[in-house]
Symmetry: C2
Subunit: 305 residues, 2 copies
């Protein structure tokens, strides 16, 4: 696949594994759509399916799974702490390879239109797909969940959907569609039980407080292990990569006299991010993806197609 869009729908069902299996089937019924993983959270009664597809078929796969969720999940019967507004609650499109943010926004808008027209579920757009600035932030759109929206959708103008009439789908509620960047969730563990140190380092390295661009960070305690963690999101690894985040945390840790024990990636990481980290640490002066045997094989395969 030269052009890849990732789609990460969140569903309001995390207990009936049979339902999740049928959602996966719905995605994979579409040519070119590949499920990379599912995360089923019984505590929150939610699940997440991560799939990739080329831009030509990603909307069709998204539509099929939203349709299947509307058949299988009745939000009126759903219990769970996590705020949610729909059977399919959030539908984010993520540009992964050979696709721009703008193209993904067009896909998201097209998906929203089709979901309303074909399934009668009203649509809210968030983040890069937002049509109103106050809807950029997902938490703001979803605040109060299904229960609050049910009372406001028809009567409070600011809560009207971006696409569709101002009424919820009887069982599937509403759907929030967006475009967000590919992000890498990356944690660095420090040899101290003092969470204050993790928080100080998080402040020192994150963009919000004058640190590295495209880096979000928080300090946490890992009580079971008696250590602390700087938990980060890298929202543009081409700009600020794993090795820059790691080195920045290590630099601050050294200043504070604390040792870096380890790091971990949560979820998936693009190959290019790890390769760039290797090139950095090895001081590889001639690095290019073209040096990698597997990339050369893939390029030769493409050429012969």
């Amino acid at each position: 696949m030269d052009r890849i869009v990732e789609c990460v729908p969140n569903f309001s069902e995390g207990r009936k594994t049979e339902t999740v299996a049928r959602l996966v089937e719905a995605v994979e019924s579409v040519e070119g759509a590949l499920v990379l993983g599912t995360h089923v959270d019984a505590d929150h009664n939610r699940s997440v399916i991560t799939f990739v597809a080329p831009p030509e078929t990603v909307v069709e796969a998204a539509l099929r799974v939203v349709e299947r969720a509307a058949e299988l999940i009745d939000l009126n019967a759903h219990a769970g702490q996590h705020p949610r507004m729909g059977a399919t609650d959030v539908l984010p499109f993520v540009p992964v390879r050979g696709v721009s943010v703008e193209e993904c926004v067009a896909l998201a808008h097209g998906a929203g239109e089709r979901v309303w027209r074909e399934l009668g579920i009203p649509i809210y757009f968030y983040e890069s797909a937002a049509l109103r600035p106050e809807r950029r932030n997902l938490a703001d759109v979803r605040r109060g969940g299904f229960e609050l929206l049910r009372g406001q959708i028809a009567s409070v103008p600011e809560r009207a959907p971006d696409v569709g009439e101002a009424r919820l789908h009887p069982t599937a509620g509403a759907l929030i569609v967006g475009v967000r960047p590919l992000l890498i969730a990356y944690n660095v563990t420090l040899k101290t039980a003092d969470v204050g140190i993790a928080r100080r380092i998080a402040r020192a390295v994150r963009e919000r407080d004058g640190g590295l661009l495209h880096l979000k960070a928080l300090g946490f305690e890992l009580e079971s292990r008696g250590v602390v963690q700087v938990s980060m999101n890298l929202t543009s690894y081409e700009q600020t990569n794993l090795h820059q985040a790691f080195e920045a945390v290590r630099r601050e840790a050294v200043r504070l006299g604390v040792e870096v024990i380890a790091s971990e990636v949560v979820g998936l990481v693009p190959q290019a991010a790890l390769l760039a980290a290797a090139a950095h640490f090895l001081k590889l002066e001639n690095y290019s993806p073209d040096l990698v045997l597997e990339n050369r094989i893939a390029a030769a395969l493409e050429r012969r197609k």
Copy 2:
């Protein structure tokens, strides 16, 4: 491709690019055979084609290109300093993925038998494919080249081929077939003009003198840049990887008060070697190839086949 054999034939023609293009065509006429690169050396009048194929078709691709070389290259008219015995001079098979050394030896022996039977070119086996200990080393097999072998093949028993009659092919000479490991050529550059330092470090890190296993190293001057280089071959990166070689050189350099400027990979490097280096330097405690987005996509594609 789940199972990959690399094949790196060397040809006694490095000036007629049209000939090299026709050799590439011969390889790619075989299903599944992919040319990753060609190296044409006019000075030595030699060329190297690097291709990969699954074990099922790699011998056929090798046979076709050896046949084409026998048609296009007349060793009697060949001039060049580099020792060589054939139109196709050396035919190494390299296990890359999902294939053992033993399987490659069987492929090499099968290829040798077919080349003799179908093309009448006598065969010598070297390195892991050698049938006699004195033929393990390629340089020993090839010493004196075509010209010396022509006078000895029929009369000196030790020079008799491993497969075929003791007579050279009239234009294509003889063919040396072998199996060697995938190797990574890796150089580390040091900020000094003193080649003695590069040589001392090379001795300290290489297996031969008690250093890292599967690591060969030599010290060289890079006169044009006024610096020196530790030039290494890693013959088993699963055992001794880039980062171990880099760290060993750096450690010795620090001891000698010299700075590491940079490193470089010559030729191709398997993805896994760079990913393992990234995991090492980032202290990634949960690293597995399964964390890499592209690997997950490839696995999903395999699963759906």
